[in-house]
Amino acid sequence: MSLSSTPSSSSPLSHLWLTRPFSERSTRIFLAVLALALAVVTVLHLALPAGHPLHVSSYTVTLLGKYLCYALLAVAVDLVWGYLGILSLGHGAFFALGGYAMGMYLMRQIGDRGVYGDPVLPDFMVFLNWDSLPWFWHGFDMAWFAFLMVMLAPGLLALLFGFLAFRSRVTGVYLSIITQALTFALMLAFFRNEMGFGGNNGLTDFRELLGFDLRSDATRLGLFLASGVALALGYVVCRGIVGSKLGRVCIASRDAEARVRFLGYRVERVQLCVFVVSAMLAGVAGSLYVPQVGIINPSEFSPLFSIEVVVWVALGGRGTLYGAVIGAILVNYAKTVFTGVMPDAWLFALGGLFVVVTVLLPKGIAGLMTRRRKADSDTQLKEATP
């Protein structure tokens, strides 16, 4: 299979790993389906009048945008879990950090239109009687800086944490537990008012992003499309990595870490690099999520959320990337339906999903699909060779 993936010779050599995915059938299908979905939603939203049964309301557009952010987060988790074998129970932390970076930018954009009308300080700081911005809030009035921090903040945390963890070869369940402790510690920290991130209430009351009113339908549609594009880009980056020789090193170290070391690869550096990339993708997902839901608070750091992301991936099928997208959208759609109709049953359903997927569907929905395809080809093979 890897033999057949000979890339087109026209692409420049250095970007080879990034352009390779476009020659893969699965990536093409994925991108086509995604583009089609984005186009259909846009058309149904813009072209049809509000009363029309097929009209997609602004609310639904935002909801779908949220799903796309979750899907990107799931892809990031799948990259480390499916290909590197690192079950991170703390990816919510990277997602939330990206979200906070965006939230801080949006807070600064409010300017003097807050309840207290302070031109610089966000409302909660005025409320806490602070007289100046904490140092880490500086620079967030500039969009480029904030967007940089969206990737840098989670990336740096992942770099620091991963450097310590992978260097001392903390793997398997130990690593999972430690990542969970990390996000738990961050949640406790962000709950504190003294941290300067709005404590319990988090950051909210956003008004505009890059000058666009967040409440207008056009901005919402724009954010939805941006989420879709981010998902597509993230998917291609991940595909590029897993399709390269590095991706094969990842799979090899997932299955036999020690053996890879004896071949001369620095497994901990491979793990660290991929982990950081994954954390940055999670940060981007969080940054697009926040303007759509209009709030970011410490509950995004909760261990429950992070572990929920893992079950999206498990349901979709780990180690496929597109499975993660399917899983994220399916589970979140189910969550929206359940919490609307019978909220009490949602946790039963989610808990049951965890059990059923791990016990009965170890390869997830993607596994079902490939099994069916394999079965088809097997029967074809049999028929061909009587």
Binding site: S244, V249, D255, A258, F262, L263, G264
Partner: protein, 276 residues
């Protein structure tokens, strides 16, 4: 290499006095040199004052009853286990005790495990590709692209190990013997100066064993080979020098004939073998 180059290359900033790629210095004879090595696990002495010298280009067989410390010795040489005391040198320049597994591997020590460990989720071709001697840092690996020369090198090894027809199949479907071969193939791809081969013929047919013996003897001379094996017939067929380990130290050393006539060896190992 100029100092500037060394500084520009991040991997070599700290140890540029002994660059990782510097040739193994074998002017003094031995390529591998172990002196007074001791390891204990929870009070149990797995390796006890072990002294061992392997000369450049030598094919050495190491035998010994279970628990003699053969695998632990391999672990020490490849950096998996750190000894409590003693010295381990690769040539006369590289102190292996200061290096980790990837560093030791890139110095040119390859290892085949007792239990064949191939990457089952990857194809046979991919297994060999990963093992190939190349720049193994992260970014070069990400952008790596097979050159024609490398491809033919892989094909060559595929032929040597007789797995050409299976090159696109997942390694997980191979039989035990085929996995053994694949792993030997991976060793060859690494082009190591020293091969550590742990029980290469377990689970092989008579015929496969013969081919393995041929391969290993053909390697000797160009490369140094250390074989740990239980199968006496196999050892007899390839061995020039045999070392007998017992309770973590060397019991006897010499040709197969010398060793098998040594009364101490007969008592602890061969005697039991022949009675059985």
């Amino acid at each position: 290499m100029s100092l500037l180059d060394a500084l520009a290359d991040r991997d070599r900033v700290f140890d540029f006095l002994v660059p990782a790629s510097s040739p193994v210095d074998v002017r003094h004879g031995p390529i591998l040199y172990l002196e007074d090595v001791n390891v204990s696990f929870d009070g149990f002495k797995a390796i006890n004052n072990l002294n061992l010298t392997i000369n450049d280009g030598e094919l050495r067989c190491i035998i010994g009853p279970n628990g003699a410390g053969k695998t632990t010795m391999m672990d020490i040489i490849t950096g998996k286990t750190r000894p409590d005391s003693g010295q381990v040198w690769f040539g006369s320049r590289h102190n292996l005790l200061t290096k980790n597994e990837p560093e030791i591997a890139s110095l040119g020590i390859g290892r085949k495990f007792q239990k064949p460990t191939v990457f089952e989720a990857l194809s046979v071709f991919d297994n060999l590709e990963l093992a190939m001697a190349a720049d193994k840092r992260v970014l070069p690996t990400l952008t790596a692209r097979l050159s024609g020369e490398q491809r033919s090198r892989i094909d060559e090894v595929l032929e040597t190990i007789g797995l050409e027809s299976l090159c696109g199949r997942q390694a997980g479907i191979l039989s035990h013997g085929q996995k053994q071969w694949l792993e030997i193939g991976m060793l060859l791809m690494q082009r190591p100066r020293l091969l550590l081969v742990d029980e290469p013929v377990a689970g092989m047919t008579e015929q496969e064993m013969e081919r393995t013996a041929e391969l290993l003897t053909s390697l000797a001379g160009k490369q140094s080979v250390v074989v740990v094996e239980h199968d006496m017939g196999f050892v007899r067929s390839i061995a020039r020098q045999v070392t007998v380990l017992h309770q973590g130290s060397v019991l006897a050393e010499g040709t197969m004939d010398q060793v098998s006539n040594d009364p101490k060896v007969i008592e602890v190992y061969l005697g039991a073998e022949e009675e059985a």
